[in-house]
């Protein structure tokens, strides 16, 4: 859909005043829920996401169990009030797909072979949505998994790049996502740069794709630093108390 909306101003700034390579403001807090084994609250621009991890626990129904390793069951859910028009509650085609790709991305980094026949349940609740909720959800889930003490190879992280008015930019906002040309969310394992999730909406040329991929990769590393800072913030004090 083409529209008259101008996504990049004459000074090269975007609608919210960001430059093409700037991320939105990110705030992460670990361990916010008492009843969950691990949890995280994340704000990414206008996105507000709550992630909770339960388990590893016995997988039910039993035919879903894997005798050699744990299964990871992520459940991405958007609250009815998370978008402007009320969203009909419950799983839809979009959230089922996002749940699947997030589960598969997380499964790659979790040491699932330590917990045969178990299920690691990750609930991602989107309270407020403003483009890029799957990246926000996955990044929040990663922090919640660390908070739950689940053995992992790395702390996964996600970030998107996109194309608006023919220009490749980092981390699309709401209008940019709606009226832009393309969107490329990726999730990586930041230690190895292994790609855990890659989706594409819209069209890129090969050149643009490579450019967007590199940009999203850089964005992932920035978000990864914020994740680590949030985890340290919570546990530095815990470790200091133990040592005293």
């Amino acid at each position: 859909m083409k529209s008259d909306i101008k996504l990049i101003t004459d000074e090269g700034k975007r609608l919210d005043g960001r430059g093409p390579h700037d991320l939105r403001k990110i705030k992460i807090e670990a361990g916010v829920l008492h009843r969950a084994d691990g949890s995280c609250y994340l704000e990414w621009g206008g996105n507000k996401v709550l992630a909770a991890v339960y388990g590893p626990r016995e997988a039910v129904p039993r035919h879903t169990q894997n005798p050699l390793k744990a299964i990871v069951q992520a459940r991405y859910n958007m609250a009815a009030f998370s978008v402007e028009d009320r969203k009909r509650p419950g799983p839809d085609r979009r959230s089922v797909e996002i749940s699947k790709v997030i589960s598969e991305a997380l499964e790659k980094v979790i040491l699932t072979e330590y917990f045969p026949r178990a299920s690691i349940d990750v609930n991602i609740e989107v309270l407020d949505a403003e483009a890029g909720t799957r990246c926000a959800g996955l990044s929040a889930a990663a922090v919640a998994l660390v908070d739950a003490g689940i053995p992992m190879r790395d702390i996964p992280v996600a970030c998107a790049a996109g194309k608006i008015e023919g220009q490749v930019v980092l981390d699309l906002g709401k209008e940019e996502d709606n009226f832009g040309d393309a969107d490329l969310p990726i999730a990586i394992s930041p230690r190895t740069d292994e790609v855990l999730l890659l989706q594409m909406d819209g069209h890129f040329t090969v050149n643009e794709f490579n450019q967007a991929f590199d940009l999203a990769l850089k964005g992932c590393h920035t978000v990864s630093e914020i994740q680590k800072k949030a985890i340290l913030e919570k546990y530095q004090s815990v470790v200091a108390e133990v040592q005293e």
Partner: protein
């Protein structure tokens, strides 16, 4: 030396130098942290360990005191589901199906295990084996049933003298009970 806080994926050592211990994993000859915590070297066993800073999944260990719910009572053994490990706040990860062999119920001779525990009883027991199957034992005084239901009307049984009695129908029943029968609030576990 002040212990360093490590994150999942951080390099700790190499497999030439140390063995990968609790909270670590080995990848291409490098030992890395698998969870958040402080890095410790066990000099005696030359093992790298990450002492967890967060809570960790609960896995059954030999010697753990657990609370289990009886699923099936047979003459030779009791099959129970481990629902809680004493002193832990998290639910049990991994295998929870456990068995108590008739000879592990009490010090003396018991002819029929199903006379000592019945379906839906909650019992406190000690883990005596984890692999290949979870085995429990209730030989001590503080082990045994901590909550039991009347087999006629399913109301909770209360301790009267040495036995159990149903306050609803007056039915008298026998169980091997723990010395603190009825004292534990199951909701506070």
């Amino acid at each position: 030396m002040k212990d360093k806080l490590v994150m999942p994926g951080d390099q700790l050592s190499t497999s030439e130098e140390l063995l990968p211990g609790d909270g670590t994993f080995e990848e291409n000859g490098i030992i890395r942290a698998a969870r958040i915590g402080t890095y410790i070297i066990d000099e005696k066993h030359r093992t790298a360990i990450v002492k967890p800073a967060s809570s960790t999944p609960v896995l059954l260990k030999k010697g753990d005191v657990v609370i289990a719910k009886v699923i099936v009572a047979k003459p030779t053994m009791i099959i129970a589901d481990v629902v809680h490990v004493t002193g832990k706040k998290r639910s049990v990860s991994g295998d929870t199906d456990a068995t108590i062999h008739v000879k592990e119920i009490a010090q003396g001779f018991i002819k029929d295990a199903s006379t000592e525990y019945k379906t839906e009883d909650y019992i406190r027991a000690k883990v005596i084996q984890v692999k290949p199957s979870v085995q429990l034992q209730t030989k001590d005084r503080n082990f045994g049933a901590i909550k039991a239901l009347c087999s006629k009307c399913r109301h909770a049984l209360v301790k009267k003298g040495h036995g159990l009695e149903c306050e609803n129908c007056g039915n008298k029943e026998h169980r091997r009970i723990a010395d603190d029968y009825g004292a534990l609030d199951m909701k506070k576990l």
